[in-house]
Amino acid sequence: MSRRTVPEGIRITKVGLWFIVLTVLVAIPAANTGNNSLYLVEACLLALLVVSGVTSRQNLRRLDIGLTPPTEVYANQPFGLGYRIRHSGRMWDRRLLVIAGIGEGKPILISHLARGEDLGGHLELMAKKRGLLAIPYIHLSSIYPLGLFRKGMRYRSDVELLVYPQLLEASAAKYRGAGPVGEHPSQRSGGGHELHTLRKFRFGDDRRGIHWKQTARTGELIFMEREAERGQRVSLLFDNAVFGSDDPEAAEAFEIAVSEVATAAHHLNERGFEIELITRGEIVGFGRGPRQRQRMLRSLALISAVSNGGQPLVGSDPSAPTIFFDVRGGD
């Protein structure tokens, strides 16, 4: 929870502009004629402006705002930033609060927040770029009470998100399959599903592995040995060397390449492949499952272009197929 606030000033609305124009218009005949009844009107108009301004400021103060970042955020993909807002003031309910985060996303309206009330929800946001995304402030604004001004206030949040690269729908089809294909028999005994060989039961074998039909036929306890299974390996090689990295087009191509790698890593991991990711400067060793996916995506989220290429990239398992990516595109 944070209560550190930074006022953002006041922006006048159309209604407010008219109000000020009318205030000036009343002031002219009042000063010209010395008619104190008009001075009364003028004083009331000015006082109402002050009351509106003070109420507007008060409406955005004494709020506790807490943010709950999501576990995974992808670039250009909406994500929900959890928030909780609590009215910690002693006076006046808060009204017409509009909460907005950063980036593209629809602000949330809280029409009424009673004293001591605690409300929560998700703020829909979208990050345009991969990498670290700081959300230093949550932006609160309101035109309450009279709609004359739009008052803004920033609440410090100190939230930092790691935005994974964008997953490309177009490229995803290449890596999608009907089901998991990453497992296959390895010609060795193990704990898989396929039958490897039948042999005599030995002390210490799991009795659940006894092949009862053969045992009945031969009269000896026959043990069913299964083949060991292991994941199919894939090496993702990403050459992140870019010549002329200052060029905007090259930078855009680099980002697309990163997204391609991320898309491949994501979908191959979903299909059960054991994947390694090799880039210039970082190697994410073979592995699979959610953790491996996160490791690869984290690496890709923070990857940056390097200027010189050097030796060609080689996978650590020569028997594993490789998918090569570079900034020029393609695999």
Partner: protein
């Protein structure tokens, strides 16, 4: 009830309230207002019946054309020099038509503008303190309307138009806001700069009726005073700066009449001369010794004459155009609309000698017009022999003792009212008594004249002043003797003089009400530049005394410098105070200058510079103005940038850079450097130009 219906009711309610004071202020008639209310009521009824279909434009045009002859009549044939009346009529008509033709959100704001005009017209033409109630009601209703409209706008923008009504409980807010607004308006009212003297529109006096009574016109009938004495309207207030002497009679002259017209009196021919200020800054109108001062607040009257005490010898008035005639009547060149505030210096010597009239009698005051043989015979019989003063006193006493006082004769018609009074009715009101005495005195060759004014007054303990009402109007006689000059005689019986006072709760309430009216007149309606100067002077005096006390504390904290008891007071006070004044001026100026310099520095430091936020706002304005897309508060920056790219590709690149920099500055916590700011400026310029071109 949906937002649309509620908005209509709110708009109609505010519109109905705005012109309420106008008939009271005689700006429009009640029929006009009732017609307007009928129109608004019909609109509200239609709305409650669910008929919110606006009238078509062609019908509105026909209505507008229908009103043209009325407008022509009001501005042409029935002009009467009153601009406000036709304008208000036009506004009322337009407002009703606009209510029925309301179809867009913009129309509601047009109605607000018209309503505001009516409100300002109502306030600007009001002089009665009850207008405060109207002001409070209008402010609170306006606060409610604005707050609800703001809520509807936001809820509608976020698709929450059907949100439960618990989101709009505004009663507490409206009450507190109204109270705070009223409290805040008080210092603002005091401090708002006045460029000149106050100007009071309308008849003033708090009652909304003109006060032309008490014989202030050039010609009066014998019923005028009797008629105005039925009114409790306040005519003037007077506060004595020094206590009035015991037995002092408060008698104020308003008009002096020398020419008897049969059924009334005329002023006659009294040459006027301009009064000039003396060396002491006062207007001197008599030769008596100036002994005491009083301040008078004279309510507006249909006359340029000033009401002054009989014993007045000097006047202190902010005017350069005072005139006095040979009867001692002081007048201004032009009648004043507002309450007139002036001081009178008096010479309260024994007897009711008229100090303001130093000239001897003219032929007019000895004119025998209206004197019949019967009157002359009666006068000779009553006056007897002796000095002029003795004869006058005998006639005065005779009339006061032998005739009765009554107001029943007001309006009675007769060819010779004085004869009828003396020999037939033997009763009447003060004008009959005074007229009879004047004619009787003239018949025995004593110059006399008829005088109107006010007698007495009721003391108001709330403020410490005397109130003189129209019921205190009175008529009496001034008679001339070579030895004493002009002397006051009052032949009206004591029970007919306006001195009898009521008492009890009603009286106290009346006094409290008058106190309120007086305060309102004094501190609201007639508050002006000189009052502001007075407040500033008081503040400076307070500051000065505070500094002085601080200085004395610093110099003499233990009181060692105190004079020993019995020591002569020989300190050179003038010299000391002179030095002190000089130093104090420095003391006063230094903090003020320091405050100004600090304020200027603070404003300079906090001046809004060019920033990405500033640029982004300008871009949004450009997008709206060039009709790229409708921008509500919920349109996010990047979405706007995407829409620009889609709809106005030429402006896309610079616009996106502006948006990116805005996001970086606003949400990334990174301030832009000078180079980036320059880029931002050029990007903004390019984006706006592209948007304009493509539009």
């Amino acid at each position: 009830m949906s937002f649309a219906y509620e908005k209509r009711f709110l708009v109609a309610g505010l519109a109905a309230l705005a012109p309420l004071p106008l008939p009271f202020n005689d700006v429009i008639g009640w029929p006009s207002l009732v017609l307007f209310w009928l129109g608004v009521g019909l609109f509200a009824w239609r709305t409650s019946e669910g008929q919110i279909q606006p009238i078509p434009n062609w019908f509105m045009n026909i209505l507008g054309l229908t009103y043209l002859p009325i407008l022509f009549l009001e501005f042409g044939l029935n002009w009467q020099g009153r601009l406000l009346r036709p304008l208000v009529h036009l506004a009322l008509f337009t407002l009703v038509v606009k209510l029925f033709g309301m179809r867009r959100e913009r129309d509601k704001w047009h109605i607000f503008l018209l309503t505001f005009f009516l409100f300002v017209a109502s306030m600007g033409s009001s002089v009665h303190p009850s207008v405060l109630i109207f002001l409070v009601a209008f402010v609170s209703l306006s606060v409610l309307v604005l707050a609800k409209f703001a809520s509807f706008h936001v809820l509608g923008s976020y698709g929450a138009a059907t949100e439960p009504r618990r989101s709009l409980p505004l009663r507490g807010f409206v009450i507190v806001s109204t109270v705070l607004t009223m409290i805040g308006a008080i210092p603002l009212f005091i401090l708002l700069p006045r460029l000149g003297g106050p100007y009071v529109v309308g008849p003033g006096g708090g009652g909304g009726t003109s006060q032309g009574g008490a014989g202030m016109t050039d010609r009066i009938s014998l019923d005028v005073v009797g008629r105005v004495r039925t009114s409790r309207e306040v005519a003037m207030r007077i506060a004595y700066e020094t206590p009035a002497p015991k037995g002092h009679e408060m008698r104020f002259r308003a008009g002096v009449y020398s020419e008897f017209l049969g059924d009334g009196w005329g002023r006659g021919d009294h040459p006027e001369e301009r009064l000039h200020r003396g060396r002491d800054g006062f207007f001197h109108i008599g030769l008596g010794q100036l002994k005491s001062w009083a301040r008078i607040w004279l309510e507006p009257m249909a006359s340029s004459s000033l009401v002054v005490p009989v014993e007045v010898v000097a006047l202190d008035l902010k005017s350069s155009s005072l005139q006095v005639d040979d009867a001692g009547v002081v007048s201004m060149r032009f009648p004043r609309a507002g309450t007139l505030n002036y001081r009178v210096g008096m010479a309260p010597e024994s007897g009711l000698r008229v100090f303001g009239s130093t000239d001897g009698p003219t032929m007019q005051e000895s004119n025998l017009e209206g004197v019949t043989p019967a009157i002359a015979a009666l006068a000779r019989e009553v006056a007897g022999v002796g000095s002029a003063q003795m004869k006058s006193s005998r006639i005065e006493a005779y009339l006061a003792s032998e005739y009765d006082y009554t107001l029943d004769l007001v309006g009675s018609q007769t060819d010779s009212p004085v004869d009828s009074f003396l020999f037939e009715w033997r009763r009447g009101h003060c004008e009959y008594f005074a007229s009879s005495m004047v004619l009787m005195l003239r018949s025995i060759d004593l110059p006399a004249r008829f005088v109107t004014g006010y007698l007495g007054g009721e003391y108001n303990p709330f403020e410490g002043y005397f109130v003189l009402r129209q019921s205190d109007a009175h008529a009496w006689v001034e008679s001339y003797s070579p030895e004493e000059g002009w002397q006051v005689y009052d032949p009206t019986p004591a029970d007919g003089r306006p001195l009898a006072r009521s008492a009890g709760l009603n009286h106290m309430l009346a006094q409290a009400y008058d106190y309120l009216i007086f305060r309102w007149d004094r501190y609201v309606l007639t508050y002006g530049f000189f009052d502001q100067v007075g407040i500033a002077r008081k503040f400076l005096l307070f500051w000065k005394s505070w500094i002085r006390s601080k200085r004395s504390d610093d110099v003499d904290p233990a009181g060692e410098g105190e004079q020993p008891p019995g020591a002569p007071e020989t300190l050179d006070d003038d010299t000391t105070s002179g030095e002190l004044d000089f130093e104090l001026t420095g003391y006063q100026i230094v903090p003020v200058v320091l405050l100004i310099v600090l304020s200027a520095w603070w404003i300079w430091q906090h001046r809004p510079g060019f920033s990405a936020v500033h640029a982004y706002r300008k871009l949004r304005t450009g997008v709206e103005r060039n009709h790229v897309m409708p921008l509500t508060g919920s349109v996010a920056p990047l979405h706007m940038a995407d829409e620009i790219e889609r709809r106005r590709p030429a402006a896309s690149k610079p616009a996106r850079r502006v948006v990116d920099l805005y996001l970086r500055e606003s949400f990334g916590g990174q301030l832009l450097n000078a180079e980036e700011l320059e880029e931002l400026k050029s990007d903004l310029r390019e984006a706006i130009q592209s948007l304009r071109k493509s539009a």
